[in-house]
């Protein structure tokens, strides 16, 4: 496989306030994110030559890219919509980068937008996948909850110990989210609150589950040799990895619910392209897919942040906390920033982008002198995983 390391850069980004945006339509959210990105990059709609849209939920036949074309009046250019579960925005971003690296376009937009709060119900609904009967009652928490008991069993944790272990991830992400103005939730929680919260899909309780939010995030991407005309502090794409696995691992013989090939493959590809040998040491900050606390735990170990079965030590030592060796989900993560499915990958990338520029909105949230950051989304489990590694120095 080839590489596009350092060939493209992000020169502008925008991100809406996430949350229950009753007042804002899908179009309003897209406008809010896109115009912040235009301003940040110093461009306007006339500079955009192509656009990749991440949007996961839509009517049955879909709406293609026309919502974005009409909202932003980006008519007359290619607009490509991507839907790939929770990696939707990441893949829109990566496809946009590949197109720019090809030399075909100078400046393009990747935008993710999701309006979940127009459905009239608090969750994502029941039933996922393809089969109306086999998957009729499948839900997101029910799907990820299946990981937990296998993890507890494999590593000899009692239900109580396991619940406390993942609960600490919720405490960390809530603490991070409390400092993040654009996050959906700003409340700090104690471990006691987390473990005693109402159960959603045992052992996952309310605070083990991310927010169901509205939001949008946007990136303006250009070739690395053109960044000079935009800004002094562009952020380069160092590497990416995408790996598709099964929609129904439930049926795969031997699947152990702890080792996820999509996570391992996508991170390995991204590390290789970025030239990272030891992610635990070399990465300075990471935004990973904490749709549920158990997911973040699985990611630590499948991404090589922690050795297999040893994430507990890193969680207990605060290695992934703000100020730790590798701060993870420093903006609160999906857990507190919120998870408008098709926007999340770009929102995470927005945080890494700002961190690498030293421009976190509050100084206490700023990681000291970061060079390399990772953003990641994971649909499933374990359908698909997408990783982007960004750096503030061109190699």
């Amino acid at each position: 496989m080839g590489s596009i390391k350092d060939k493209v850069a992000i020169v502008g980004m925008g991100c809406t306030k996430f949350g229950e945006r009753w007042d804002a339509s899908l179009e309003d959210l897209a406008i809010e994110a896109a115009y912040e990105a235009y301003e940040d990059a110093g461009v306007g709609p006339g500079d955009i030559q192509a656009c990749w849209v991440g949007q996961a939920s839509a009517p049955l036949i879909g709406v293609g890219g026309s919502t974005i074309a009409d909202a932003l009046k980006l008519h007359g250019i290619p607009i490509i919509r991507n839907e790939n579960w929770c990696t939707t925005a990441h893949i829109a971003l990566i496809e946009a980068c590949i197109a720019v690296a090809s030399g075909l376009y100078d400046t393009v937009m990747a935008i993710g937008v999701e309006k979940l709060k127009d459905t009239g119900y608090p969750g994502l609904g029941t039933g996922r996948g393809m089969s109306p009967v086999l998957e009729a009652r499948r839900t997101a928490p029910g799907s990820f909850g299946l990981i937990a008991k296998r993890y507890f069993e494999t590593y000899g944790l009692t239900n109580k110990e396991g619940k406390e272990l993942i609960g600490k991830i919720a405490v960390k992400n809530h603490d991070n989210g409390s400092l993040c103005p654009k996050a959906h939730f700003h409340n700090k929680v104690t471990l006691e609150q987390v473990v005693n919260a109402p159960i959603i899909a045992w052992p996952l309780g309310l605070f083990d589950c991310c927010g169901n939010s509205d939001g949008s995030a946007c990136a303006i991407i250009t070739r690395a040799d053109r960044v000079g005309s935009f800004r002094p502090d562009p952020v380069y794409l160092k590497g990416f990895g995408i790996s598709m696995d099964s929609l129904l691992p439930h049926l795969r013989p031997g699947f152990d619910w702890i080792n996820f090939n999509a996570l391992v493959d996508s991170s390995r590809k991204a590390y290789e392209m970025a030239g990272i040998k030891n992610p635990r040491e070399e990465l300075d900050v990471a935004e990973v897919h904490d749709c549920f606390t158990i997911t973040e735990l699985a990611i630590y170990e499948n991404f090589g942040f922690s050795p297999k079965g040893k994430a507990r030590e890193d969680i207990d030592s605060g290695f992934f906390a703000r100020g730790g060796g590798l701060p993870v989900n420093i903006d609160g993560g999906l857990k507190c920033f919120g998870h408008p499915v098709g926007a999340s990958g770009l929102r995470m990338t927005y945080e890494i982008y700002k961190q690498l520029q030293g421009k976190a909105d509050l100084p206490e949230r700023q990681v000291k002198n970061p060079r390399l950051g990772l953003s990641h989304t994971f649909g499933g489990p374990p359908q698909i995983s997408a990783v982007a590694i960004l750096g503030n120095e061109r190699g």
Binding site: T126, G145, I147
Partner: protein, 477 residues
Amino acid sequence: MLGIVSYGGYIPALRLERKLIADAWGGNSIGGERSVANNDEDSITMAVEAAVNCLNDRKREEIEGLFFASTTAPYQEKMSATLIATVLDLGRELTTADFANSLRAGTAMLKTAIGLVKSGSVRNMLVTTADCRLGYPKSDQEQAFGDGAAAILVGDKDPVATFEGSYSISNEMADVWRNPEDKFVKTWEGRFVLDEGYTAHMKEVVSGILKKYDLRPEDISKIILPAPNSRTHRSLAASLGFDVKTQVQDPLISNVGYCGTAQPLMMLAAALEAAKPGDVLLLAAYGDGADAMIFKVTDQIGKSINRCKMNTLLENKLMFPSYVRFLSYRGILEAQPSEPFRLFPSATVSWRERRSSLRCHASRCKKCGCMTFPVQRICYHCRSKDDYEEVRVSGMTGKVFTFTRDNLAGRSDDPIIIQTVAELESGLRFYAMMTDCDPDSVELGTPVELTFRRIYEGAGFHNYFWKLRPVRKGGTN
């Protein structure tokens, strides 16, 4: 030799203490408990349970016909027997029919099946029956009714009981009925129904068959008299000259209830389970007249087969917590809606997926042996294309590999869905919901088996699939 080759009953795991109904209305309990079909059960799924129990390890391709009798078939127009036959993985060359509209449909079906086998038209016929009738809320019937099913395999080889003769009378009266738009069973005045209807005709049909075959009550080992309530049952048996203590089959009223069309064959199944070679069984059933049949038990009865006995079914119970939930499960009371379904059923999808979703076929790769459900055209393991054989896995047992108790996925009146991944035989993985269990009792390694259930209503038709349930205590014999 013509007769009953095999038999099996089914009683839903849920039981409602009748006192809960009585207390809700400030009335009197008739005592005991009644069976209640779970919210994923209906007459079709219960008939499947009984049929699986009846067929046990028998080769499915040997079955030449399937009948279904019920007054509560899910469809007014569309055969239930064909669905049951498909779920049982029977062949396509099959005689099928539904019997309906009368509490006597069960025995009418049995009599017809016996006639067909006798005529040589088919060598065997699997007859299935199930009912889940509704009495008006507050009525005695609501307490007295139960839900259940039974299946009998009629054949001409190695019967456990030979068919010795029958006698039927037809009668027209509006004693018990339901109009197409009625949810609840309607009746005329009680004494008219019980005296002039039930008791008079049961007496006539039992006396008639005894006379026809020159028998006396003492020649009968067990008389099987399905009855709408215990008092009527006792007085009928006594008035016919049978010893209530030794000669009369338990009518299942106290612990199950009156299961309508299914009751005669459920009681027959229970009687056969306890029978000895040489026993003579007299079955009589009421409904718009009456049917009576005599069977003689053979020495095949002692053969050990893989069957869940009625006693085991009776013992495997989950007490239903409330009368309100019973009303909601039966659709009498509309509880708060749950989160909407996002996968929309389609008749074409259901039809294409029937091999897996109804017949419960997995694919076994001919190259590497990898087994997967549902059928996969390309092997998960070695990627061989279209090189597999189909294997029916509905009879398999296994263990819970992982699970979660999902509080978001269920109905608002039954919120917890146990999302379960089980490992069945040959490493086959099966993902399904767990049913008929206390959610807190499920653990990694819990032994499970498959059961056919109704999943939901959508696109205007009923959608069925398989679920897992903990292997029943007492198991099979």
